[in-house]
């Protein structure tokens, strides 16, 4: 998957977690919880969805790397580089 494809996949998951959020207006470097007005419970659900639908498990020690949209995409992209578009 390319970084663009990862972004599209992540955006689909975010649209489900925060359906009222305008994803096109998110600053990719802003903390996701603040940008989407979601709490830590929603964030955990996002990570569950990332594992179930994208196939990457984010460990607790990597939470700090995936707190923004940009961080999450950059974390996932190299782990999905050799994977076909899903």
């Amino acid at each position: 998957m390319t970084e663009k494809q990862v972004l599209e996949a992540v955006s689909r998951l975010l649209a489900r977690i925060a359906p009222e959020a305008d994803l096109s207006s998110i600053d990719p470097e802003e903390p996701l919880q603040r940008a989407l007005d979601i709490d830590s419970y929603d964030f955990l659900n996002l990570l569950v969805a990332v594992r179930d639908e994208i196939g990457v498990t984010v460990s607790e020690s990597d939470y700090g790397k995936v707190g923004t949209l940009q961080g999450l995409v950059r974390f996932l992209a190299p782990r999905l580089a050799d994977r076909k578009d899903r």
Binding site: A18, R34, D37, S40, Y41, F43, V58, S59, E60, S61
Partner: protein
């Protein structure tokens, strides 16, 4: 013979619409069974029965809007206690008129028999109010919150105490424990905070209870109302029951159960009426410190802010620690600042021993 009444699911609730009966005459029920569904300002709520018995008579059919306290059904086998409504004496005409004209009955003196509020009282109050609403009045959950918070600010003399708590041990404990758990089972930091609050309340029990009839009613059970923001705006504070007796895993399971139901408007009546204290955690939204408003008749609210890296001196050494701001809002009629301080001290101590939570 027991009366099953429209419960009050908060000090602000005046009425509800009976959506559905889940029992019929002749059905045997036991304490905790969900026997009806009611639409309220806070969403659709499943109503539980509080005693064992047999349903002998259904008095209100589905679809009707009924005031808090009205008998909905009769159940043979002992009294069936719903939470007691806060009664405002007012004639039915006065109630209807007050609702139509946006007059708060709780703020009116009654001149009718026994101090009951009459139609004339409502009309006088409306005439005295020269302010015409320019926007559509708030409704639903916004109005419910408005009612409860206005009452709180009107009646409860709040005092606040605040402290910063070192979260390094708690955070390390969580990190180590969560590494061994599947994603779904991982513990959120708020789980540790909830348990520490519950244990802190065992040390300072006068913060866990209700202020009713000029007296503090301490509660043995620690049911924490956990503030949950709703997507459409507003919040609900369903009770997580017996937090002091639950393991961290069980508290997390309770959150996983209650949060989606709260957001879907599928809470149970006991979850809305049982809370003995409230915890609100706004750290996720970047807030550093929370100064909450107590939910009456409770006597305390604990607020947590964001866990931030801060300089922290200990044993003469300066370092950087994750620190959370914990704030207690408490009812000065029930306790004094010294007890509030004792609670925060107990809370901080509990959080330094996460293995014991």
């Amino acid at each position: 013979m027991g009366d099953f009444r429209m419960p009050s699911l908060g000090a602000d609730m005046r009425e509800g619409t009976l959506l559905q009966w889940k029992v019929k005459p002749g059905d045997r029920v036991k304490r905790g069974d969900i026997i009806a569904e009611v639409a309220t300002d806070k969403g659709d709520i499943e109503i539980e029965v509080f005693e064992d018995g047999v349903v002998t008579e259904i008095l209100i059919e589905a679809g009707r809007q009924v005031p808090v306290g009205e008998v909905l059904a009769r159940i043979d086998g002992g009294p069936v206690e719903a939470p007691k409504p806060e009664r405002i004496r007012a004639s039915p005409v006065a109630r209807r008129l007050a609702e139509e004209r946006g007059v708060d009955l709780a703020s009116l003196p009654g001149t009718g028999p026994g101090g009951a509020i009459t139609r004339d009282d409502v009309e006088r109050a409306k005439a005295a109010s020269k302010v015409e609403p320019k926007e559509k009045p708030a409704g639903g959950i916004r109005l419910a919150i408005a009612g409860a918070m206005a009452r709180s600010n009107r009646e409860i003399p709040h005092y606040y105490v605040e402290t910063g708590i070192d979260m390094k041990r708690a955070r390390d404990f969580l990190a180590e424990r969560n590494e061994k758990l599947r994603l779904e089972e991982r513990l959120l930091p708020v789980v540790v905070l909830l348990k520490a609050v519950a244990l802190g309340l065992k040390d300072v029990p006068e913060l866990n209870g209700y202020w009713v009839d000029d007296a503090l009613q301490r509660k043995d059970e620690i049911h924490i109302g956990f503030a949950i923001s709703l997507r459409k705006g507003g919040l609900v504070t369903p009770a997580i029951h017996d937090v002091d007796r639950k393991s961290l895993t069980e508290i997390m399971a309770s959150l996983r159960d209650v949060v989606p139901r709260a957001r879907a408007g599928r809470l149970r009546s006991s979850e809305l009426s049982d809370a003995t204290v409230t915890v609100t955690n706004l750290g996720d939204l970047g807030v550093e410190t929370v100064y909450g408003v107590i939910y009456p008749p409770q006597v305390a609210l604990v607020g947590f802010g964001k866990i931030l890296e801060r300089p922290w001196a200990e044993n003469g050494m300066l370092g950087i620690r994750p620190v959370v701001s914990a704030t207690l809002a408490a009812d000065h009629r029930a306790t004094d600042g010294a007890r509030g301080a004792a609670f925060l001290d107990a809370l901080a101590r509990r959080l330094q021993e996460p293995d014991e939570l």
